[in-house]
Symmetry: C2
């Protein structure tokens, strides 16, 4: 499909809406028109509803044939038996991009669902019209405040492109908003991963692409598109349906064939895609790649509020193929100047004695120690493990970190924050950008490990 046609799905200038209720439009209901009006979407809206003249101040039309405008996109949210007829009307009106939210096609177990799907397939044969779905939340685009989801989303202009087969990923997980821009392929009867990946390959708003895959129809085309995309941008994949039982469930969810997991393992690896093990990792890596720069090597410096978490961090470096940096003599000297004479100096650096025994102010110690290790040529990235025991120490981090991030732009810094009220501090810190906050040292280092892995892949090209 051409990029221009994919743009009609995710950057539409005019949208026809089928199945918008004139009731249920309070702030708790699921109403796409209310969502679009309140989000500030600037395109032209054409709700199709023969039983109303206007909804929420927007003029309605009895049928799409009555709309005297070129319509980029139609979004259908009607009972399934009405869908083929409406698809036909849309095509006759020249609409080339159609999103079907309705459930009960390939995801159904009855004969009627199959029959309805065949009707739709036949309707779009050889006329250039394309369908996203069925059973799909459609597309979302924080950069134009557009979303075809009937549920209200919290979109942010993050450089993240999502391609998924379940609409739940349009919502937040572990403080991660996956959208940026997103396509819910769902049943994927027509528009597929390759189409969406080709869009993101060209899209300058997108820096990292996250995939949730249940199955693909055209494996060869998937791999070709994935290979091209992964050379330009990091691509993360959560491939589900690993066990036989889960593969069965995939079929009743999106009608997809899950495929053998070992085959997927190899295919993803050969494409340069980073396979993640779970949703937490998908969330962590999405944030890591959208916020951090690539790395020049894999040598990590660790600064920790506790020797114990320093050890935990080294365990994680070992697990995720990162090297524990050996500091230069100059760095060692600089660190020694901040620490009690009896303390051993090495990597990890234990901050606490400098604060407790020598009673130096915490922001000073953090800044100086981080600056010492980030300026070391033998360090490619750093992690700060800190306990937000009080709001005040959260403020300390806010003071200490952002300037360093400016100075050492090419060395990723991850702040692992725990203790009470971390959400509060993390939310504030996220706004500073260019460094990541996360919960445990292990997750922080897993993320750095994958950034290092992808950086090496890019250097090898």
């Amino acid at each position: 499909m051409s990029i221009e046609q994919m743009k009609k799905f995710i950057e539409p200038r005019s949208v026809a809406l089928f199945g918008v209720s004139s009731k249920r439009i309070d702030e708790n209901s699921r109403n796409i028109l209310r969502n679009l009006v309140s989000s500030g979407y600037q395109g032209r809206l054409y709700p199709i509803n023969p039983n109303a003249s206007e909804i929420l101040g927007v003029k309605t039309f009895p049928r799409i044939a009555d709309v005297n405008d070129a319509v980029d996109l139609a979004i259908i949210n009607l009972p399934r038996t009405q869908v083929p007829g409406v698809v036909k009307e849309c095509i006759e009106h020249g609409v080339q991009a159609i999103i079907i939210a309705t459930q009960g096609f390939a995801d159904a177990v009855d004969e009627e669902g199959e029959q309805l799907q065949r009707e739709i397939d036949n309707l779009i044969e050889n006329n250039g019209a394309r369908i996203l779905g069925p059973n799909s939340l459609g597309a979302a685009n924080a950069f134009t405040n557009f979303s075809s989801a009937y549920a209200q989303l919290h979109m942010k202009k993050v450089p993240v492109g999502l391609i998924c087969q379940t609409g739940v990923l349009f919502f937040e997980f572990s403080e991660t908003t996956f959208i940026g821009k997103a396509f819910d392929l769902a049943n994927a009867c027509d528009v597929d991963f390759a189409d969406a990946m080709e869009y993101f390959e060209q899209d300058d708003d997108t820096k990292v692409v996250a995939l949730h895959i249940e199955g693909v129809r055209d494996g060869k085309r998937f791999i070709e598109a994935a290979k091209r995309l992964a050379r330009r941008k990091p691509v993360l994949a959560l491939k589900t349906g690993r066990s036989a039982y889960a593969a069965e469930a995939v079929q009743s969810h999106t009608g997809s064939l899950a495929g053998k997991d070992e085959v997927w393992e190899v295919a993803l690896k050969n494409s340069g895609i980073i396979r993640v093990s779970d949703i937490d990792e998908l969330a962590d890596l999405t944030r890591a790649f959208s916020m951090l720069s690539l790395m020049k090597g894999n040598r990590i410096g660790v600064i920790s509020v506790s020797g114990g978490l320093g050890v935990v961090s080294l365990d994680a470096c070992y697990k995720y193929d990162l090297e524990v940096a050996r500091f230069s003599p100059q760095t060692i000297e600089r660190l020694k100047g901040l620490m009690p004479s009896w303390q051993g100096v090495g990597n990890p650096v234990d901050i606490w004695p400098a604060c407790m025994v020598l009673k130096q102010p915490i922001p000073h110690v953090i800044t100086e120690m981080l600056d010492a290790i980030l300026s070391d040529d033998g360090v490619d990235a750093a992690i700060l493990v800190w306990n937000i025991e009080l709001r005040r120490t959260g403020a300390n981090i806010r003071e200490a970190v952002p300037k360093l991030v400016e100075t050492y732009r090419d060395k990723p810094l991850v702040c692992c924050l725990f203790g009470t009220d971390t959400e509060h501090v993390r939310t504030k810190l996220k706004k500073s950008g260019a460094f990541m906050t996360t919960g445990t040292p292990e997750r922080a280092i897993r993320a750095l490990g994958r950034v290092a892995q992808y950086s090496a892949f890019r250097r090898s090209l």
Copy 2:
């Protein structure tokens, strides 16, 4: 050591405090006396400070010899060179339990640190006095509002016993408070894991024990105590210092020998201890075992807001050795009555069509579906995967779940909640008790997997 002596560390009736400043007592400073006074600890407090007559309204004493009372516990937070002298005075006064918070003994790299440690070792030889530390936050007990930590803790009366070698675990991780009751062994020059495990074996306030281990001196005694404890209560272990490099860091943190990781793997397994891979898992399992009942089998029922997360849940069941329950014909019939006719009925159950297509009220659907699967004799535990898209749906869960938990007390229920504002809803739900909330289906199911594993171990005894 006798349990009575361990009680002096964690249930002291009278405490002498060394190193309490008469300054720095505002709410942001670290002052153990202020912490104890404000937490409501009811024991007798004897701050030892020759330069003050009272601090915070509590009478001070120039030396411990001036205290005309039996002192259960002494807590020392003085510069390291003063520590041996004070330990000697404590012993002379008949104190049998001493916590040393001061750093710079076995954790130091200089000769003086080693020398000071030897002095302390000699002082407690053959006189019955025992030392917890050095470099330790000591002990904490939410049930008596006691804590020897200079930092303020958020303790809760949860049935969790913690034994760790780093004080950071006294703070919160991933909404988990590990205390209950806790011992920070730190350098573990004297009081060791076996001592603390023997205490928790007898302690009725404790239902699950979490260990953070860097190394132990007496492996044989550790295993004996662990075996006894694990037969009565679930024991979780985060054993760190896995790689050679990390093992080195362990030595400079607590002076412990990390030991070969493969040996630990076998030793923990043979003791009936559940080894966790990271802090997130330690936190999840601590909560799971403290909130959920044991399981009669390993068959899981899954109810999900999305087919996609249903598949993710099955993948996790496969990974963590849980069986996907096959519902009885009666359960299938009951579920069918709630769902559109075209929808396939099986495990996982996809809730959404019942709410969207049939427009049934969400709390009704959740309650009925959960009741259907929890009442099935072929189901040992259930997971509900739900998206808190709006505060209202959070409230739905609050209505629907707690009654079911009452009815099916012997079947663990985990609610996996994602979306915006989950913290808010989770905090409220946690108060209902007896079921767990967590972030991703994978983590929820990992936790259930470990509960099933331990339940089988207990049945095998």
